[in-house]
């Protein structure tokens, strides 16, 4: 086969050379995060993803060198392949900015404003998208569609109200586990992710649907309501896993492992799929070899209070007085938060009032 010709594409005045057959979105990602359009449904590691959410719309101001006419309508960059000499406008085009604002409004029409409750808050792509590209208010006056929350298997919680129907989870189940038992039922406004006849999903890699979900529709039940992501320390860790690569991110508070997720790259996509055992069952620091803190973009709320390469000043008071200084108050003697004998991370599923009550009764 002859060598693939390289196509020159200009996206927001940044020129990159990409092989033929690359999509505009991939070329833009190669050009840099400043010009890359956001994507809610497209996932580079899932075959056939993209083309559903319309957030990656761009304007093609010049089709190619051979045919320089602009494309009449905005195109979905995740599904349109590049041509030689193509010129694409993303944020420099007013039409795109306006259209994206409309798309965000549509995505948010039925999305509940329950970010204070949602476990995805802080790492939610829809949150980022609406802050960056959306309007501050809603014009929608009607009843939002609601669903009962339900469980996909015993470890995954589905909040259908939050779903934006990106189909990523359906593709994960299809392509990763080899046998999917859930899909999208009904059509249009009533469409919903469902496992038919409440069949439980217990395939080896099904936990990855939590990581690919751009919103909080699919969340980890073992982590549910236990902590906010920005209070946890993300750590790179690995273990010898017979089924997967074993490379994960641990989300710790102190030495407690609150959550295990796959490592995500700068586009929020999983680097290596991880298996259910790593994700749900290995909730002890001793199960893992910790490599070090994971770098988080400083634009993320998760990066607050995390300093890379921080040097603490040396404590000299004990050298001067010749002994450890006496503490007036050890906060753990008084505080009822994070008590020594109540490990939230070891409770199966979310904590309930009973978990706290038993403790209170014991104290009396």
């Amino acid at each position: 086969m002859a060598e693939q010709p390289l196509f020159k594409v200009t996206i927001d005045n940044v020129t990159v050379e990409v092989p033929a057959g690359t999509t505009i979105l991939q070329a833009a990602r190669k050009a840099g995060p400043e010009v890359a359009p956001p994507a809610m449904c497209y996932y580079s590691k899932l075959e056939g993803s993209g083309g559903k959410c319309r957030t990656c719309l761009v304007e093609v101001s010049k089709g190619s060198d051979r045919d320089p006419r602009p494309m009449p309508k905005l195109v979905a960059s995740c599904r349109t392949t590049v041509m030689d000499g193509m010129e694409v406008k993303n944020l420099t085009s007013e039409r795109v900015v306006d259209a994206r604002k409309g798309v965000v409004e549509f995505l948010l029409i039925n999305h509940p404003l329950d970010c204070p409750i949602c476990d995805q808050a802080g790492e939610c792509h829809l949150q980022d998208l609406s802050y960056n590209h959306g309007a501050s208010g809603t014009r929608y006056e009607f009843q939002r569609r609601t669903f009962e929350k339900h469980s996909l298997g015993d470890k995954i919680q589905l909040h259908m109200t939050r779903c934006i129907l990106c189909y990523r989870c359906v593709m994960v189940a299809d392509q990763l586990t080899g046998q999917r038992e859930h899909g999208v039922l009904e059509r249009g406004e009533r469409a919903e992710i469902s496992d038919y006849l409440e069949k439980s999903l217990d395939k080896e890699f099904i936990g990855n649907v939590i990581d690919v979900c751009p919103v909080g529709a699919l969340t980890d039940k073992t982590f549910r309501f236990k902590n906010r992501v920005w209070f946890l320390k993300p750590l790179n860790a690995h273990r010898d896993c017979p089924t997967c690569s074993g490379k994960v991110t641990l989300w710790n508070r102190g030495d407690e492992v609150f959550r295990v997720t796959a490592r995500k790259d700068q586009w929020g996509e999983v680097e290596d799929w991880i298996c259910n055992e790593c994700r749900f069952d290995k909730k002890k620091t001793s199960d893992w070899v910790i490599e070090g803190p994971r770098e988080i973009s400083r634009h993320s709320v998760i990066s607050q209070n995390k300093y890379i390469g921080m040097v603490k000043p040396k404590e000299t008071i004990d050298e001067v007085i010749g002994k450890e200084p006496r503490l007036f108050l050890d906060i753990h003697d008084v505080s009822q938060v994070n008590e020594k004998d109540r490990d939230l991370s070891l409770i199966e599923g979310p904590a309930h009032s009973t978990d706290f009550k038993e403790k209170d009764e014991k104290k009396q």
Partner: protein
């Protein structure tokens, strides 16, 4: 050296005259100033008999709010804790069980909520951050105490009384009986 301003006055180092040496006129002048203050309006209040009204934007002790049905508004979203510059707020969340709908407004709530008043600087950022109108800074001071451990305020210390079961205590906690306008302040001063 050339002086930078024209406000400089050189110290008078000439020897004192007889009138200055006997000091009596100067003592009389000092006493006059002291006596004048006896008849001036007092700048202080005799607390606690007389209480100084709070300004309408006063930021005092925190209150965890309830809604009109007496359910706790806080959903343990952690925004107050992340906004807190002193890192005084900590919390632990729990899921509402069926049958607890009359206690908690949302499906998730703060099972533990603590403010360390030793750390708190009363900046009011928690109040601003709260998306659920759950935390307010009230018009009371944090009471003084001898023990440091008394300053870690838990949920029982912070929650406002239930408006359904204890309406009187609730009204008192709202503090609407105290006038906080500028006119009231002036009236009390006179």
């Amino acid at each position: 050296m050339q002086s930078l301003t024209n406000r400089k006055i050189d110290v008078n180092r000439s020897p004192m005259t007889f009138a200055e040496k006997i000091y009596i006129p100067e003592i009389a002048r000092g006493m006059a100033i002291t006596l004048k203050h006896f008849f001036k309006k007092k700048a202080t209040y005799s607390f606690p008999e007389q209480k100084r009204p709070f300004s309408s934007v006063f930021r005092g002790l925190h209150v965890l709010n309830r809604d009109e049905q007496g359910r706790e508004r806080c959903t343990a979203c952690g925004l107050c804790a992340v906004a807190c510059p002193a890192e005084a707020i900590t919390m632990e969340a729990a899921e509402r069980l069926p049958g607890e709908e009359n206690l908690y407004r949302e499906e998730k709530y703060a099972a533990r909520y603590e403010i360390n008043m030793l750390r708190c600087i009363f900046c009011g950022l928690c109040e601003e951050a709260c998306p659920k109108d759950a935390i307010y800074l009230s018009e009371t001071y944090t009471p003084a105490d001898f023990a440091r451990k008394k300053f870690v305020y838990g949920k029982p210390d912070l929650l406002i009384p239930n408006p359904v079961t204890e309406p009187e205590a609730y009204q008192k906690a709202l503090g609407r009986n105290v006038e906080t306008t500028a006119e009231a302040f002036e009236k009390l001063k006179k």
